[in-house]
Structures are given as structure tokens and as C-alpha cells.
């Protein structure tokens, strides 16, 4: 099957029901997408499917055919940060950083949908993304900064 990831189309030969997470990580080497729980409990594997945040551990490869798949590595790069990534760097959010790919993808989808999220909106959108290191206060602040910067842009 053909999968379009971060603007590049790849031919992959995998089972229909292989979770996109493992296609991305093990078949395509896109390891910015993280495995944390495999059962939609942590959000570390969050990507965008046609702009919507989804858990790639719960998305079948076959269901992503024809869709625009965006990973953290396609959102922005170290030299060309997305506004959400820039806000994350500004607030020095990460500790171990393992959850942050998913946190950032979740936040970017939230802001694309809702440019001025309230505290409740942020809580509701980010509640499914676990951070075992406890960076939540900084995540909250960074989402607000990113929202402000995106509006100013």
C-alpha cells in the first residue's frame, strides 16, 4: 500500500491491521512517533491524519491509505520550528521529552481547530496525553504562548 507521510509517499508492504505507529517506526524509520502504551492511554503516538489528531497505535495502516499523515518530524524541524514547537522551546517544557512529540501534535491540532482555547478547552484536549515527568504546568503555558503567537502571525 501507499502511505503519504510528511509530504513523502512511501510504498509499504504490511498487514492491513498493522498499527500506523509500527509502520512509521519500524518500516519507515520515523521514530519521532513514540510508543508508550499501545492502547490509547498515553498519547505518545499522536499524529495528524488529514489534520486531525489521532493515536497512531489505534489506526490501521490500511485506514491511512490516501490520507495526509503528519508526524512531529513533519510539523517542523529543529531549524524551522512550528509555532507550537517554538513555544515548547521557549517554555523549556521537556524533561525526558518522550511524551512531547504526542503533546505537541495534540496541541497543534487543538490550536488549528480552536485558535483561542480556554483553560477548559486545553484541559479537555490535552487530558489524554500522559506525561510521567509531570511537565503539565509548562505544557499549559506553552499552549497559551503558541496560541498568542499563531494569532499574531
Amino acid at each position: 500500500m501507499k502511505l503519504t507521510v510528511d509530504g513523502v509517499t512511501h510504498e509499504v508492504d504490511v498487514e492491513d491491521d498493522m498499527p500506523l505507529l509500527w509502520v512509521l517506526r519500524d518500516e519507515l524509520g520515523i521514530t519521532g512517533v513514540k510508543y508508550g502504551c499501545g492502547v490509547a492511554q498515553c498519547g505518545a503516538c499522536t499524529i495528524h491524519l488529514d489534520g486531525t489528531a489521532v493515536r497512531s497505535c489505534q489506526t490501521w495502516a490500511a485506514d491511512a491509505e490516501g490520507a495526509e499523515i503528519t508526524t512531529i518530524q513533519g510539523l517542523g524541524t529543529p531549524d524551522n520550528l512550528h509555532a507550537v514547537q517554538a513555544a515548547w522551546v521557549e517554555h523549556q517544557v521537556a524533561q525526558c521529552g518522550y511524551c512531547q512529540s504526542g503533546q505537541i501534535m495534540q496541541a497543534a491540532a487543538l490550536l488549528a481547530d480552536n485558535p483561542s482555547p480556554s483553560d477548559q478547552d486545553i484541559d479537555a484536549a490535552m487530558g489524554g496525553n500522559l506525561c510521567r515527568c509531570g511537565t503539565y504546568p509548562r505544557i499549559r503555558a506553552a499552549v497559551k504562548t503558541a496560541a498568542a503567537n499563531l494569532k499574531g502571525a
Binding site: C96, G97, R140
Partner: protein, 746 residues
């Protein structure tokens, strides 16, 4: 962008000594001399100035040997070197280097002590066997301090200074001027006439020189990095998905594996049948390993799927069948025969209790998983005469020894690449995953095998935090706490952990009473007794180790005595405080929160104080009792660390520690049925999520004279401060964690 973000990736993929080629500087001659580990791998035109600074034509590399589990120590170590070396942090490369005796406090015993009680300072000195004698002193002095941080704090700056002066000397000799007339800035030596000579142009010169030693360190008032908010060097990579962790590493020709272990942790396997699994697409082999089966495939998911098809017959667990049995073992340990230590014994407790006790209470704390978000993993390739390992670990040198024993290949031929860790909290002080990957790789020589645990395997086969129980009594008079008797029972974490490394353990275990026996409170009659319960589930160090349970027991019981005395929990702690830094820490947190007694309106506040790892830490938690349950609104933290190296990272770590502790206190426990953990993923072991996260105000105090680490100290006081707040808001006393057994949280 800084080149730092890419350095670890290079270390992962190159797969050989990441520092290969270069000059390397150090203070190692001030201690026992060790061969400079960088020298062996220097290529032509490269130089190693100390084990911490390497110059190559590509630039300057700072070696930061302490493993980074997410707490930013790569960054802190680099900043300490740069402070004296005069380089800009965004213009150098950083590399963890290879495990080497030069990077440890020279002796294995120190690594061992660090391993059992990570960064424990005073407690670290209390290795089993010597515990009684040292504890007597420590119990009185309580000077504490994390020797690891303190040690690095001086050593790395000294390495930077030595390298700088050596470079100056080299430039001066070449130009025929005096070294003292030269300056340094941004990776350059500046000659008296203003000519700039890049450090990297001096490689050939310094390679011939003995490093300048014993250079005086700069005055704190001139520091450029220390104490200032820093941009962590790994931040961009971690925010762009370009930071490679162990689980992301790849080696040519690598296969993916997972393990199926006896669901009852530690019990063996009788037989297995891999026929069905072998029929699955991509599955290469199903092989026996100690206590289970290794499943090897061409993709991690295929290995996970195949593992579910392996049929196995397992041996029975030696653990009690039900949790009641575990608690009964703790209950049975409160005896004279099981007494492990009684280092704190002020006044005359027996006499004080003759007329009866104001409280007779019992407290419990459950087993807990570490559950860092990155499941454990390792790549191992076994060749005929050599083993190569890629993994995120806190114990590389133990692992070298263990793998050498398993393979029969000498330890010097066991090469280990320490990779970035997606959290640890103590989880990566164990090396089962490497041992198992080695057993699999031995059965497919020459092929690198990447073993990844599923989350379920990771959680159910974690070596958990100790289960523990405490009993308290005491007396009050005239609105004062007069006596406080605390007994704590738990199995020995240290014995369990040491046992898995084949090391003997004798004598009392300091962790059974850590966070209680050494608390700086002058209560006229005060006794803390440790009781050692029989081994139950295998245990390991969990963020703040013994203090993670004992900080709760101590503060919760003290609160009940203070309540019986009819006085204020902050005021009474202040009155009892036996030293100045403790008093200042308590005053600071009270001032931050504007503490002024009961609040009303369904709101309540609790305060707790624990000195652990040498760091006096006071926390206040504020909650509201809503119709749907307890809402945690705010937390204030004051912690005394001597010097705050990076205020931003400091705040992040303290907030994280509080969230970690509150989350587990709210809703986490591991329970065992027939030796099998009942919780296997985050839906049953959740911790705190963002919507529940309170506002957390942090203040780092610098009244002490030692530089101390902050990774663990925020943990112990959080749970008891929450319990105190819930009591103030609702009148319900919580004596057992997790609290959601008794109250709801919103």
C-alpha cells in the same frame, strides 16, 4: 541551531565510540589516576584535555558522563564545564562518552553506593554493613548533601579551568608571550595584541603538553551560566521528534524482539510451544530464555502479536496468593526479632508512653511501578569474542559484568553505548532487559537483536517500590508535641536490589527508616524504629526510595499528634525545628502560601516537611472539597539546595516531582494475585493527568553550604501535605495510599 541536538543521534547510529577521535582534559590526576578514556580513541590531529573536554578539527566536545534520564544532567554537566572553559554552550558538542572508571568516583564501591541509593549523599555513605556506626553520627549531624552533585559541581568546573589554562599556555608559548597576559572567550585564546586563536587551532600544541592542574575556580559573582536560566541543550531535539532514545536506536541488520515472561514475576518456565507463533508473518525465531521465551521478528508489532500465540507452562509464584498475605507479612514484622535499626532514640520513650498514648495509628503505602513512558529496551549483538550493547541505563558497569558472565566474554570486550532515556524514576537501575536480549542474541550470533518490552510486560515485570506499613504513638501536653514514636516495617529494598547484582547485603538497611529517622525536629521523646519484613515481591529504588513511603508516614503521624495538641501544623513544625535551614525552609513556604490557619468554604490546606537526600523540602497543598470530589488547587514548595544551578530546570524538576508524587498518592498501586501484577497499563495505573494538575509555586533556597540535587526531594512531602489538606477540608484522615480508595478526586 546548536549542533548539540544532533550529537546523541550520531552516538546512536555510528554504533562505535561516539567520541572516537579527538583530545580529551581532566581533574582526574587530583584523584586516583585513571587512564584518560578519550586518549585511546584519538585520531591524528585530535587532542583530549582531561576526560571531559575533547578538541577535534570539527570543534569542541564536552563529555557529560552522568546518564540523563530526563532530568537535564547532560545540560547541567555541560554548563559546569563551559563556565570555566569559556565556550558558548550553543557552539560546542556534548557527548555522554563511554563508561569508564575515570568518570566515576574512581571506585566501584562508589558506583555501587550510588546504584543502591542514587545520589543519596549522607545516606549513600550508609552502605549496608556499616550502617549502624555511620547512622549514629549521621542521625545527629544531618549535614547530608548529595555527594554526587557536589562532587560533579567542583570536578567539572575544575576540568574546564584546567583545559582553559592549558590552552592559554599553548597559545602563549606559540606566540612567545606570557600566559597570564592572555584572555579566553567563546572558544578562543586572545593574545595581548588582540589576536584570536581558536581552541581548535591549538590541538597539536596541547597534545604534547601536560594539562595545567590545580587552577583556582572562579568566584560565583562572575558566573555566566550557573544560576541563570538556561536553554537546555536537548530541548530542540526533544520538541521536534529528533531526539533518539534507546527505543529509537537502529543498527545494521537488526531484528526486533520481545519477551513473554512468566506472568508471575521471577518464576520459571516449564515448557513452551512456539509453533503457532512461528507461522506468523515476519517471525524469525522463538527461543528459550531465563523465565520465559524470546520472540524474534522483523518488526516490533509482529513480535508482540506472535508473543500472544506462544503457549507456555509456568512455574508457580513464591509470593503470597493475595495482598492480605503481603500485609500480614508486614504486620508480623513489628517484633523485636525483626528490628532492623533504632538509630533515633531521644529522651525516654517508654517512660513517656507509660500514661498512655494520644494516638494509636497505622499507615500503609502500596507497591508502585516506575512506569517511565519509554518501555525498557536494549539492542545486543553477540559475536564470538565481543558483545556490543545499546541501551538507556543507569548501571552500565554492572551490566558489562553481568553480560560478561552470561556470555563468557571478558568484560573489556563488552562494549556498552548508553543512550538517552525516556524517563526512569529508578526503573533503569535494573538490567533484566539487557540480560534477556543477550540470551536471545547468543542464539543468533552476529545478528543485533533489539528487545522492546510491551507496556504490559514493562509494568507487570517492574521491580516495584516497597510496600510499607508504619505504626505511630505519642503524647502531647500544653499544646505541644511531647513524644513521637514511629515504627516502620518493609522488606529490604537494598537487599533485593543488591541480590540481583550478585552482591551480598548484611546489616541494617538505612532505607527502611530514611525520611524519618533523620528528620530535624527536636521532640523531647522521639524514637524511630525500622523493622525488616520477609522478602515478598522483588523491590527496587523508586524515586526517593525509602523516603517515598516514610515521608508520608512521618508527616501524617506528626499531623495527628499536632492535631491532638490542638495547635497549628506549620507553627508546631517551626517550634520543633532543630536547625536554622529547616526553620527557614518552613518559613519560606508559609510566607509563599500566606499560611494563616483554617480556610473554610470547603477549602483546606496541609503542610509537610521532609529532609531527604540532604535537601530540606517543605510543601503546602491546597484543596477544595467539591460535590464531585477533591480538587487539588495549589501547591507551594520551598527547597534548600545550596546553589540553584539552573532556575528553569529546577522549577520544572520540582513541579514534576510534586506531580509524580501526588499522582501516585491519588490513584496508583500495584497489587498481586498469585504473584501476578493486577495492573498492566496506564488505565489501571494512571497517575495525574493535565486537567488535575494544580498550580505549583516553587522557590529554591540557597542558605546551605552544599550544592544538592533536586530530582528526588520534592517527592516525599507531597502525599502527606495532600492528606493534611484533605483532612482540613473534609475531616477525613487518610492513612493509606492510594487515597482514591477513600475519597474521589476530580
Amino acid at each position: 541551531m546548536s549542533r548539540l541536538g544532533t550529537i546523541t543521534r550520531r552516538g546512536f547510529l555510528v554504533g562505535s565510540v561516539a567520541v572516537a577521535g579527538g583530545i580529551a582534559f581532566g581533574t582526574y590526576t587530583v584523584r586516583k589516576p585513571h587512564a584518560n578514556p578519550l586518549s585511546a580513541d584519538l585520531a591524528q590531529g585530535e587532542a583530549a584535555l582531561t576526560p571531559y573536554v575533547k578538541l577535534t578539527r570539527e570543534g569542541i566536545t564536552l563529555i557529560t558522563p552522568r546518564a540523563d534520564k530526563g532530568q537535564g544532567v547532560y545540560h547541567v554537566q555541560a554548563a559546569l564545564i563551559a563556565e570555566e572553559l569559556d565556550v558558548d554552550l550553543d557552539a560546542v558538542m556534548v557527548d555522554p562518552g563511554m563508561p569508564s572508571p575515570a568518570y566515576w568516583n574512581t571506585a566501584l564501591s562508589t558506583e555501587a553506593a550510588e546504584f543502591f541509593v542514587p545520589e543519596a549523599g549522607t545516606m549513600q555513605d550508609l552502605t549496608i554493613g556499616a550502617v549502624n556506626a555511620v547512622m549514629k553520627t549521621a542521625g545527629v549531624q544531618i549535614t547530608g548533601g548529595s555527594t554526587t552533585v557536589a562532587d560533579q559541581f567542583v570536578k567539572l568546573r575544575a576540568a574546564g579551568a584546567s583545559a582553559r589554562e592549558t590552552l592559554k599556555q599553548a597559545a602563549a608559548v606559540r606566540a612567545g608571550v606570557s600566559a597570564s597576559a592572555c584572555q579566553t572567550d567563546a572558544g578562543q585564546v586572545i593574545l595581548p595584541d588582540g589576536t584570536q586563536v581558536a581552541y581548535t587551532d591549538l590541538i597539536a600544541d596541547v597534545a604534547q603538553m601536560r594539562p595545567v592542574q590545580d587552577v583556582p575556580l572562579r568566584d560565583p559573582s562572575t558566573w555566566r551560566y550557573i544560576g541563570k536560566p538556561m536553554q537546555r541543550i536537548d530541548m530542540r531535539a526533544k520538541c521536534t521528534g529528533t531526539q533518539d532514545y534507546g527505543i529509537d536506536a537502529a543498527v545494521d541488520g537488526m531484528l526486533h524482539a520481545t519477551v513473554l515472561l512468566n506472568p508471575a514475576q521471577g518464576a520459571g518456565i516449564k515448557s513452551f510451544d512456539g509453533t503457532e507463533a512461528l507461522k506468523m508473518r515476519g517471525v524469525r525465531d522463538v527461543v528459550p530464555i531465563t523465565g520465559g521465551v524470546g520472540i524474534v521478528a522483523d518488526n516490533t508489532w509482529r513480535a508482540f502479536q506472535a508473543a500472544a500465540l506462544v503457549e507456555a507452562e509456568w512455574e508457580d509464584s513464591a509470593m503470597p496468593a493475595e495482598m492480605d498475605g503481603h500485609w500480614a507479612a508486614l504486620d508480623a514484622a513489628f517484633t523485636e526479632e525483626a528490628q532492623d535499626s533504632r538509630v533515633r532514640d531521644d529522651g525516654d520513650m517508654d517512660a513517656a508512653l507509660e500514661a498512655g498514648s494520644a494516638i494509636e495509628t497505622e499507615y500503609r503505602a502500596p507497591y508502585l511501578a516506575h512506569a517511565p513512558l519509554e518501555p525498557i529496551n536494549a539492542i545486543v549483538r553477540v559475536d564470538d569474542d565481543k558483545v556490543e550493547i545499546w541501551t538507556g541505563t543507569q548501571i552500565p558497569r554492572f551490566t558489562q559484568t553481568n553480560v560478561s558472565r552470561i556470555t563468557g566474554i571478558p568484560a573489556e570486550n563488552v562494549i556498552i553505548h548508553v543512550l538517552m532515556m525516556g524517563g526512569s524514576f529508578g526503573h533503569r537501575l535494573e538490567d533484566d532487559v539487557v540480560r534477556q536480549a543477550t540470551e536471545i542474541a547468543m542464539q543468533m550470533k552476529g545478528t543485533p537483536v533489539k528487545l522492546t518490552y510491551s507496556r504490559e510486560m514493562d509494568m507487570t515485570h517492574d521491580y516495584t517500590r516497597q510496600i510499607a506499613m508504619a505504626r505511630a504513638r505519642g503524647t502531647v501536653a500544653d499544646g505541644k508535641v511531647e513524644s513521637f514514636d514511629l515504627g516502620i516495617a518493609m522488606p529490604s529494598v537494598i537487599t533485593s536490589q543488591m541480590g540481583r547484582q550478585g552482591l551480598p547485603a548484611s546489616g541494617p538497611d538505612s532505607q527502611i527508616v530514611a525520611g524519618a529517622f533523620e528528620q530535624p525536629f527536636a521532640i523531647p521523646n522521639h524514637r524511630v524504629t525500622g523493622y525488616r519484613a520477609a522478602p515478598l515481591a522483588p523491590l527496587s529504588s523508586w524515586r526517593s526510595v525509602g523516603a517515598s513511603t516514610n515521608g508520608f508516614f512521618y508527616n501524617a503521624a506528626l499531623d495527628e499528634l499536632i492535631h491532638a495538641a490542638g495547635t497549628d501544623p506549620l507553627e508546631e513544625r517551626l517550634r520543633l525545628a532543630s536547625d536554622d535551614v529547616t526553620r527557614k525552609t518552613l518559613e519560606a513556604v508559609g510566607e509563599m502560601a500566606d499560611w494563616s490557619g483554617p480556610m473554610g468554604n470547603g477549602k483546606g490546606r496541609g503542610i509537610a516537611f521532609t529532609k531527604s537526600f540532604g535537601v530540606p523540602t517543605a510543601e503546602i497543598v491546597e484543596v477544595t472539597a467539591t460535590e464531585d470530589g477533591i480538587k487539588i488547587d495549589k501547591v507551594w514548595v520551598a527547597a534548600e539546595v545550596g546553589t540553584v544551578v539552573d532556575p528553569v530546570n529546577f522549577e520544572n524538576l520540582v513541579q514534576g516531582g510534586v506531580i509524580f508524587a501526588l499522582g501516585h498518592a491519588m490513584n496508583c498501586e500495584i497489587t498481586y494475585t498469585d504473584g501476578v501484577a493486577d495492573q498492566d497499563n496506564y488505565y489501571s495505573f494512571e497517575g495525574m493527568r493535565l486537567p488535575q494538575c494544580p498550580e505549583i509555586m516553587v522557590r529554591g533556597l540557597e542558605n546551605g553550604d552544599r550544592v544538592l540535587g533536586i530530582g528526588e526531594p520534592p517527592v516525599p512531602p507531597a502525599a502527606p501535605a495532600l492528606a493534611g489538606a484533605i483532612f482540613a477540608a473534609t475531616g477525613t484522615r487518610l492513612r493509606e495510599m492510594p487515597f482514591n480508595k477513600f475519597v474521589d478526586f476530580v
